[in-house]
């Protein structure tokens, strides 16, 4: 919202205050000012002059020579404006003036020779004076304007405009007009506030019937008629103020409604009296199937929650949003009905949003305006008409329908409460003076305050003690509150469960294993689901998805990560990515299950043996499980079925006996369907499950007192015999003596086909003595026998 300093100054005594300096304080105490700028700069050398004579230019039939006078000025200038005529009062932009050109670039006026005639200064158009886009002719001032004065002395062209961020005014219905801003400014500066208080005498010459049938949605509807109006331009000073605050001057009646609105914040609407059938006005909700054509010629289909202003025939205005085309003020309008009303904020907002018509009016009614303002604003309008339209008069009663009167909001609060909440030593007197400066009525009894909230702050803004704390804090200045860290009691440190697990895993994945962390959207893409053959029946559907392509919440991290491979595979040979995050599983209760998952993918487009990627992935997950101290990590046959899991090259991850996830080569069917070229393996772990597994701290093993004998054995077996099986068998041969059994190598090839050879290494350790060679031989014999019996293994010698 644009705010004019000249306009504010009408409602507060602000002489000597620098509006640019003050704008910073306003931002800190009231609402954010986005931009501050001056208008009318460069117009110091513009003078009000009278055109005494107009002659034709000797060298051109389009140009004229105008002789103008005013004060010490008496000269002839070249003028091309069609409207220049003898006797008119206009503005001479003398040498040194900076005016706007039609490209809105500044232009410095000097001496010029135009078609052989020397001319100093020029007669200026409204556009050149920065007053709108009218460049059809020179500006015409009212005949009574005193000549010889500087233009800015007779018209408020020199101004400072504050552009306030509308968002920071959403909770301040009182600040949508200049008088409300003036009240805040006066309070900030410790100056006097001058409230809007016009006085109007009403008659009963032109009776209306005003019926408010929707007092819930229209707490207050006031109206009166005025007659003897002649439509014409409004006074220049009003046009200038409107223009500088972002409104286009239209005609006196429209300008006066806008001027009144921008003064108090309460929108008004003027109807052509002739179009109000049967002098009947009713405020009601729309009927099913009803419609109205608004001023901007939109045909708005209404529903029964929309509020409509009607006459005996039907809608004449979409309440609080826009007037109806059927009753607009026209060039020949002589009598009007003026509406100054108060509407329910939510209703106006919903109608405006649904109809797609956002107006200055709806923007204000949406903020919950003070019903008191309706009357003051109506009166202000009437005053303008009476003052500036000769022959016009008020011709009816002041109709005032509704049940808007409310008990005043009274808050009792202690000064200690305010001091405690702000953390500030502030005297009782200061608190009271701040509240009083904002027109709160305060009575005090030993630091306990009874505060009456003014009506314009009581609609939604201020209702509780804490609201008053804000008033004191902001006017006193938050910058003046000394920062003080709170004192707290020491307490037991909090264990971070899953969060802590996530942090360790993240560090291991990035710092140790060389993975990059990715974050993907929480939605699944239909394209991927289809390629993977996943139906959407059991997925959580969005009512308003971001796109038709992503209508559901994801149940797994993997599909979007497959998308990550597609995006990156052509740009890198090796790809290692991981993600941690919630997935969403529908269940009976209203909130879905939202387990936290950890998945990673390891791919390599240059790898010779693709299956190596599986063992790389296995290495990664084993490393992770070791780092988080959740016991041993076993690899068991895969029991998980998902489209991307390879039916035979996959395994479950068992941590301390609990299944927590899986590891797999990509299923070639899924890979083909996703059109991914790069070979890769993947792994997925449920972090919630993992964190529920008790921490198992590795216990120190005493260092062996007697030398360990390292022993290798290579066995040829059927390919279906698992290395893991053999390890278990080997451990069982002499559990007391055999330690650290691990598979160290395997061989395939013609030499063994179709069988393969597996090599194992282990340590033979006796706790109380050195093993003898015969004992070692004996164990060896047992191993050979055991392997032969249990897996038909043939030990190589």
């Amino acid at each position: 919202m644009k705010v004019s300093w000249n306009w504010i100054s009408k409602y507060a005594e602000l002489e000597g205050i620098d509006p640019i300096e003050l704008s910073r304080q306003f931002t800190l105490s009231v609402a954010e000012i986005d931009e501050v700028y001056k208008t009318g700069e460069g117009l110091d050398n513009c003078f009000v002059v009278r055109v005494d004579r107009v002659e034709t230019h000797p060298g051109s039939n389009k140009l004229k020579l105008a002789t103008v006078s005013g004060g010490t000025i008496n000269r002839t200038v070249v003028c091309g404006a069609p409207n220049v005529r003898e006797g008119m009062i206009t503005v001479l932009a003398d040498e040194g003036s900076v005016v706007k050109s039609s490209s809105s670039e500044p232009f410095v006026i000097g001496k010029a020779v135009i078609r052989g005639v020397e001319s100093t200064g020029m007669l200026a158009s409204p556009m050149e004076l920065g007053l709108g886009d009218n460049h059809a002719g020179i500006i015409e001032l009212p005949p009574e304007t005193e000549t010889g004065k500087r233009f800015h002395e007779v018209a408020p062209v020199k101004d400072v405009i504050w552009e306030i961020d509308n968002k920071s005014l959403t909770h301040r219905p009182d600040l949508w007009g200049h008088s409300g801003i003036a009240r805040e400014v006066a309070s900030l500066c410790g100056r006097k506030y001058l409230p809007v208080s016009p006085d109007i005498v009403f008659t009963d010459d032109d009776p209306l019937t005003v019926k408010n049938s929707a007092t819930d949605l229209c707490p207050r509807y006031t109206a009166f008629t005025m007659s003897g109006i002649s439509i014409g331009p409004s006074p220049l000073w009003i046009q200038i103020l409107l223009y500088n605050t972002g409104m286009r001057p239209i005609n006196n009646v429209v300008d006066f409604t806008n001027y009144s609105m921008l003064t108090t914040g309460n929108p008004l609407h003027a109807f052509d009296r002739r179009d109000i059938h049967n002098s009947y006005i009713e405020i009601r909700t729309a009927k099913e199937g009803e419609n109205i054509i608004t001023l901007d010629q939109t045909d708005v289909k209404l529903n029964t929650s929309d509020l409509l202003i009607t006459d005996s025939e039907g809608g004449i205005a979409l309440a609080g949003v826009m007037g109806g085309l059927n009753s607009e003020v026209k060039d020949d309008t002589a009598d009007i009905v003026l509406e100054a009303a108060n509407f329910h904020a939510g209703t106006i907002r919903k109608t405006a949003v649904r109809a797609g018509i956002r107006t200055e009016s709806s923007a204000r009614f949406e903020k919950s305006l003070d019903p008191e303002m309706a009357q003051i604003t109506g009166y202000l309008f009437a005053r303008l008409v009476l003052d500036y339209i000769p022959g016009a008069g008020v011709s009816s009663k002041f109709y005032d329908e509704g049940n808007w009167k409310r008990e005043p909001v009274i808050i009792s609060i202690s000064c200690d409460f305010i001091r405690n909440a702000l953390g500030l030593e502030i005297a009782n007197e200061k608190i009271i003076s701040i509240l009083t400066s904002l027109d709160f009525a305060v009575s005090e009894d030993r630091g306990n305050l009874i505060v009456r909230v003014p009506s314009w702050r009581a609609t939604k803004d201020i209702s509780i003690k804490e609201d008053l704390v804000e008033e004191i804090g902001r006017i006193y200045g938050y910058d003046n509150i000394p920062p003080q860290l709170p004192s707290v009691l020491l307490e037991k440190p909090w264990s971070l469960d899953v969060k802590n697990l996530q942090k360790i895993i993240t560090d291991v994945m990035v710092l140790e294993l060389g993975f990059t962390e990715v974050m993907n959207y929480s939605f699944d893409k239909l394209k991927y689901l289809k390629a993977l053959g996943i139906g959407t029946e059991n997925l959580l559907e969005l009512a308003n998805p971001v796109s038709k392509e992503e209508p559901v919440l994801k149940t797994d991290l993997i599909p979007n990560m497959l998308g990550n491979i597609l995006l990156n595979e052509n740009r890198c040979e090796q790809l290692r990515i991981f993600e941690m995050g919630r997935v969403f599983i529908q269940q009976q209760q209203d909130l879905p299950k939202q387990p936290r998952m950890f998945s990673f993918i390891i791919g390599d487009s240059q790898i010779k043996n693709q299956d190596d990627l599986f063992y790389n992935a296995k290495y990664c997950i084993e490393t992770v499980i070791k780092r988080i101290e959740r016991g041993n990590c076993e690899i068991k046959p895969c029991t998980t079925e998902l489209p991307w899991i390879h039916p035979s090259k996959s395994a479950d991850i068992i941590v301390s006996g609990e299944k927590t996830g899986y590891i797999s080569m990509i299923n070639p069917v899924a890979q083909k369907a996703m059109e991914i070229q790069m070979p890769f393996a993947l792994c997925s772990i449920n972090l919630d499950l993992l964190s529920s597994i008790q921490k198992s701290i590795h216990q120190f093993e005493p260092l062996p007192k007697f030398p360990a004998i390292s022993y290798d054995v290579t066995v040829i077996v059927e390919p279906t015999v698992r290395a893991g099986e053999i390890i278990e068998i080997l451990k069982e041969v002499e559990p007391e003596l055999i330690h650290n059994v691990r598979c160290v190598d395997y061989f395939e090839g013609e030499k063994y086909a179709p069988k393969r050879a597996l090599s194992f290494r282990m340590d033979f350790i006796h706790s109380s003595r050195t093993l003898k060679q015969e004992e070692v031989n004996e164990i060896h014999t047992q191993i050979v026998k055991k392997l032969s019996i249990s897996v038909e293994g043939q030990v190589m010698t």
Partner: protein, 347 residues
């Protein structure tokens, strides 16, 4: 002539159906339909024939060529499917074989994680709990409990992702406020970082999914003065330099008084530049004292307990810290972006 064509076609199809791998298939295809393939040569030879005969023979040749190509295509699919089937059935695959260490490579933290970790570290040291709350929330926790009434604009369709079952994707981390009040016994202090969602079109500075961290402290007699001190401490720890902050009135239904916190522009030091739109200040985060209605929703007595809360945009902070100009990079999964961030560590 027509017999020749017929015979060639039969031969080709037979050979194709016998092919066992894609290489052989490709060779057969070239043999018949390549530049010097036998069907191609026949076609080339048509020039010598009488015009009326030429047309019919040409058609026959082309038909034969098509038949060979489609047989080849069909066989190609069969072979691929067979290969996949073979791949799917790998009885010899032994997952218990020893794992293979990965080669050294440089990893990367997501920039939002790095920022989040640095915020978490500061608060952990100050004894804040760091719970992690749901992303799919109930209307009650996301709105009602935060004193956001039913007709508030924030509850419109245009800002919130709704699920068909009536729940929603949390629009801020603030629903954690009531959850934390219900979970912990006061006094307590906690921060809860996480992803949040807004139903809006994405562009350089708007994204429907981004990250925030909420801070909440509940105790007796907490004040605006405490909040200012905590915020300054936090921001100086994150930016690793002295920071000047200021509070302005800001309206949020769940705090009273509510503030917008600005920091003095770090690019120009407050003298004005394009980053701060020449104001010298950058709007950073909303904060305030917890509204009594929110305390009630969390099951606390507002006459006994007070609180302060803030909501900090982690994504935005990352954009400021690393001068990232396009918000959609964060969720893009593009490694050219993600691999630029080497610094950091979760712990």
């Amino acid at each position: 002539m027509f017999d020749d064509i017929q015979k060639l076609e039969e031969q080709a199809v037979q050979a194709i159906n016998k092919a066992m791998d894609l290489d052989t298939l490709r060779k057969i295809e070239t043999e018949y339909t390549g530049k010097k393939g036998s069907i191609t040569l026949l076609l080339k030879g048509l020039g010598k024939m009488a015009p009326e005969e030429r047309k019919a023979a040409g058609m026959a040749c082309n038909n034969a060529k098509q038949a060979v190509l489609s047989a080849s295509e069909f066989r190609k699919n069969e072979i691929t499917e067979n290969e996949i089937k073979k791949q799917l059935d790998a009885p010899g695959f032994d997952p218990t074989l020893p794992s293979i260490p990965v080669k050294q490579m440089s990893g990367n933290f997501h920039p939002v994680s790095t920022i989040s970790f640095s915020v978490e570290k500061v608060f952990e040291k100050l004894g804040f709990k760091i719970p992690d709350y749901f992303e799919v929330e109930s209307e009650w926790f996301n709105f009602e409990a935060l004193n956001i009434p039913g007709d508030h604009p924030a509850r419109d369709m245009q800002d919130t992702f709704w699920l068909k079952n009536g729940s929603l994707l949390r629009t801020h981390t603030s629903p954690g406020q009531a959850r934390a009040m219900k979970e912990f016994k006061p006094p307590f202090r906690a921060i809860f970082p996480g992803r949040v969602f807004r139903y809006e079109r994405t562009d350089a500075s708007h994204e429907h999914t981004f990250h925030q961290v909420e801070g909440l402290m509940i105790d007796k007699n907490l004040s605006v003065s405490n909040l200012i001190a905590i915020m300054k401490l936090l921001l100086e720890a994150i930016f690793e330099q002295e920071i000047t902050i200021r509070l302005r009135p800001g309206y949020f239904p769940f705090v009273e008084p509510g503030f917008e916190l600005d920091i003095q522009c770090m690019t120009c030091g407050g003298s004005g530049c394009p980053v701060c739109k020449h104001s010298g200040w950058v709007e950073l985060l909303p904060c305030g004292l917890v509204h009594p209605e929110v305390l009630k929703a969390g099951g606390l007595d507002p006459d006994e307990w007070t609180g302060w809360a803030f909501g900090l945009g982690l994504t935005r902070l990352a954009m400021m810290k690393y001068k990232i100009n396009h918000i959609t990079h964060f969720m893009s999964g593009d490694l050219r972006f993600l691999s630029q961030f080497k610094a950091g560590g979760a712990r």
